[in-house]
């Protein structure tokens, strides 16, 4: 794991490209939704890219990640391709879950992306359980639960912080605080100003409050917390402040957010910040543009492939109810 100062320039350029791929994928998801090609719903994470890429690049491939219904960025950061994500959104046979999960449930278990969860907070205890399995195996793996600010007011958040602290589990709780619980400012429904970090003291856990649009800051904090967890010193809470560039879901224009606030956060776009960091290190703009172009080409090809992909066989609605693949008497 590398710290901010040690992060190689080539590595940072690669992170930029990963963020660009996520941004392009989210824009494509929005376009496909507006074109009526996405079945169900979407919750886009454009603006949150630095959290996913900063964290994922600080983890081992065998570490476990659990995300929320706003989780496309984490699936991609853990190795899901834009094509299989977009195909899943479009309910195609080639989607990550064959179209059975949809936007809210992206899962890629063979890359240890252990699911996205649409019931707020439901995956926090699961991350604790996966972390516990690592302790039992002595494998040195950690589990990371990403969640939104809204999750900090639900029971499982508090239940899990407590039991993970008591059992010193190697789990990281990473809050993507984008300031809004769906359509309501988190500050208006929460007793403390920093919804995740301020709760840490109640469980005697360390907490870090940071700029979630700064990929280097996220990377450094997650690397430190993971190291701590692997050493047997238990969980860490990381609260990464960030901002959604789209609304809550589907076609929500997000008009409940003050214009000045939106403008301020758009000026602090994580890709813009990463570009500035690269420029500071002397990377020519043309190299960054080339990364953008590669991302664009990748996602354009992904969109085309997902559109062309076959629809799922209707019979799959009656598979996998049970572990043997069947639906048994319920069919």
């Amino acid at each position: 794991m590398t710290t901010t100062a040690e992060t190689a320039t080539a590595e940072l350029l690669d992170w930029y490209e990963q963020m660009a791929v996520i941004r392009r994928t989210e824009q494509a998801a929005q376009d496909l939704f507006l074109a009526g090609l996405v079945k169900g719903t979407t919750h886009l994470a454009a603006g949150h890219e630095a959290v996913a890429v900063g964290a994922s690049t600080a983890l081992r491939d065998d570490d476990y990640v659990f995300a929320t219904y706003r989780g496309h960025h984490h699936a991609i950061a853990r190795g899901a391709t834009p094509e299989e994500c977009l195909a899943e959104l479009m309910s195609k046979a080639t989607g990550l879950c064959g179209g059975k999960g949809g936007s809210m449930h992206l899962t890629k278990a063979d890359r240890n992306m252990l699911g996205s969860y649409a019931i707020v907070g439901a995956h926090l205890p699961m991350a604790a359980g996966a972390a516990w399995s690592a302790v039992l195996r002595g494998s040195g793996q950690v589990a990371v639960a990403f969640f939104g600010d809204g999750a900090t007011n639900i029971g499982t958040f508090h239940e899990t912080l407590n039991l993970a602290a008591v059992w010193k589990l190697p789990v990281l709780f990473v809050c993507e605080n984008n300031l809004y619980m769906e359509y309501t400012p988190i500050g208006s429904v929460t007793a403390v100003p920093n919804p995740a970090a301020d709760r840490a003291a109640a469980y005697r856990l360390p907490a870090e409050l940071l700029d979630g649009n700064d990929v280097l800051a996220v990377h450094a904090a997650v690397a430190t917390a993971a190291q701590r967890a692997r050493a047997g010193d238990g969980p860490t809470i990381i609260e990464a402040r960030t901002y959604r560039q789209f609304g809550h879901s589907r076609t929500d224009p997000g008009k409940y957010r003050p214009e000045a606030e939106v403008a301020q956060w758009l000026a602090r776009d994580p890709l813009t910040l990463a570009r500035a960091a690269l420029a500071d290190r002397g990377v020519p703009e043309s190299d960054v543009d080339a990364a953008d172009q590669r991302a664009r080409a990748l996602v354009e090809a992904a969109v085309a492939a997902a559109k062309a992909a076959p629809e799922p066989d209707l019979a799959t609605a009656l598979t996998d109810v049970w572990a043997d693949g069947s639906a048994g008497w319920r069919s």
């Binding site: 995956h123 699961m126 604790a128 359980g129 996966a130 039991l163 598979t319 109810v321 049970w322 572990a323």
Partner: protein, 329 residues
């Protein structure tokens, strides 16, 4: 032959012990299950013998318990969660119904959920609301969950082991008022002699009326059959054992012979197991039925105060009354 005379509670304890011996991936978790051995002592001695890593006293946090079990299960373990009393399962309802039941389906089989949720259920011990409930229908209604219940020590011993070995999530309902009742258990029975988990069983053969029961009501049904014999009626009692998936083939076969069917359960009648069974028996056996399928069930009220629970719970008289009504059609 290693037949032992065990209480149902001890048979469960022995079955859990055997499951832990057979598979190091089996882990027990729940409130007070370690040092105390559980409020009903079903996990008595397990922490002492298998260690605090495999038998864990958890915080009082049912959603956290089941959610943690889900995380363990999708990474290769076989957690067995004890819910202290039936009514305490509702804080874990989201984890069981929205996650445990559905993750295999929605991930297209990428993850497996071999979790057993043990729940002491039903009334009859002088407890009250939250401690005497029969929540089976909620779980049976949820695709992706299997639901079973044992009625005898021998079933308790084997069914708990079969449930733990299953790759599907299973809600395992334990008839708490029967924990102290004894029966013969051959703990060394060869596998071929062990009855399958997802199968109903004729508990007492008869010719005149089919009486269906499960869990704590099997004894009531059997007692009713003994009493009916004095009236010259031979009731056939079937222990359903598995509520999801239901195994109604022996039931259809029985009802085609007897022409009459009474379903008994403690849970309220409305949308209970009896409703589902009545619908299916009617569809399958319509031309054999001499009378409608009748239900003997708890009332559609909250579980009553303990002084009133004997009025609430189906008993021998109510079962015999239903049989009489079935004949009076």
């Amino acid at each position: 032959m290693a037949a032992e005379n065990l209480t149902l509670g001890k048979a469960l304890n022995s079955g859990l012990r055997k499951a832990m011996e057979d598979d190091p991936k089996v882990i027990m978790m729940g409130e007070d299950i370690g040092k105390l051995g559980g409020v009903f002592r079903i996990t008595d001695g397990l922490q002492k013998d298998f260690g605090e890593d495999r038998v864990i006293d958890t915080p009082l946090a049912e959603s956290g318990i089941v959610g943690t079990a889900v995380g363990l299960a999708i990474r290769g373990y076989r957690p067995v969660c004890e819910i202290q009393f039936d009514g305490f399962v509702y804080p874990a309802f989201d984890q069981i119904v929205s996650q445990l039941a559905k993750m295999h389906y929605r991930s297209q089989g990428q993850v497996r959920l071999p979790v057993v949720i043990r729940i002491p259920f039903g009334g009859g011990i002088g407890a009250v609301e939250h401690h005497s409930e029969s929540p089976e229908t909620y779980f049976v209604h949820t695709a992706g969950l299997k639901v079973v219940t044992c009625a005898s020590p021998v079933d308790a011993y084997w069914m708990i082991q079969q449930a733990i070995a299953s790759d599907d999530p299973i809600v395992f309902l334990e008839p708490k008022r029967r924990y102290w009742e004894k029966g013969e258990v051959d703990t060394a029975a060869p596998a071929a002699q062990v009855f399958p988990l997802h199968a109903s069983r004729v508990a007492r053969p008869g010719t005149d009326c089919t009486v269906l029961a499960y869990g704590p009501m099997v004894k009531v049904a059997l007692d009713a059959a003994t009493a009916a014999e004095e009236d010259g009626r031979a009731l056939e009692v079937i222990d359903l054992r598995t509520l999801s998936p239901l195994d109604l083939t022996p039931v259809y076969e029985s009802v085609r012979r007897t022409g009459r069917c009474v379903v008994v359960h403690e849970a309220p009648a409305t949308l209970g197991m009896g409703a589902e069974v009545a619908a299916r028996v009617t569809e399958e056996c319509f031309y054999s039925l001499e009378s409608p399928v009748l239900r003997v069930a708890g009332f559609d009220t909250p579980y009553p105060a303990s002084r009133l629970e004997e009025e609430y719970l189906p008993d021998l008289d109510r079962v015999l009354d239903a049989v009489d009504r079935s004949f009076g059609w």
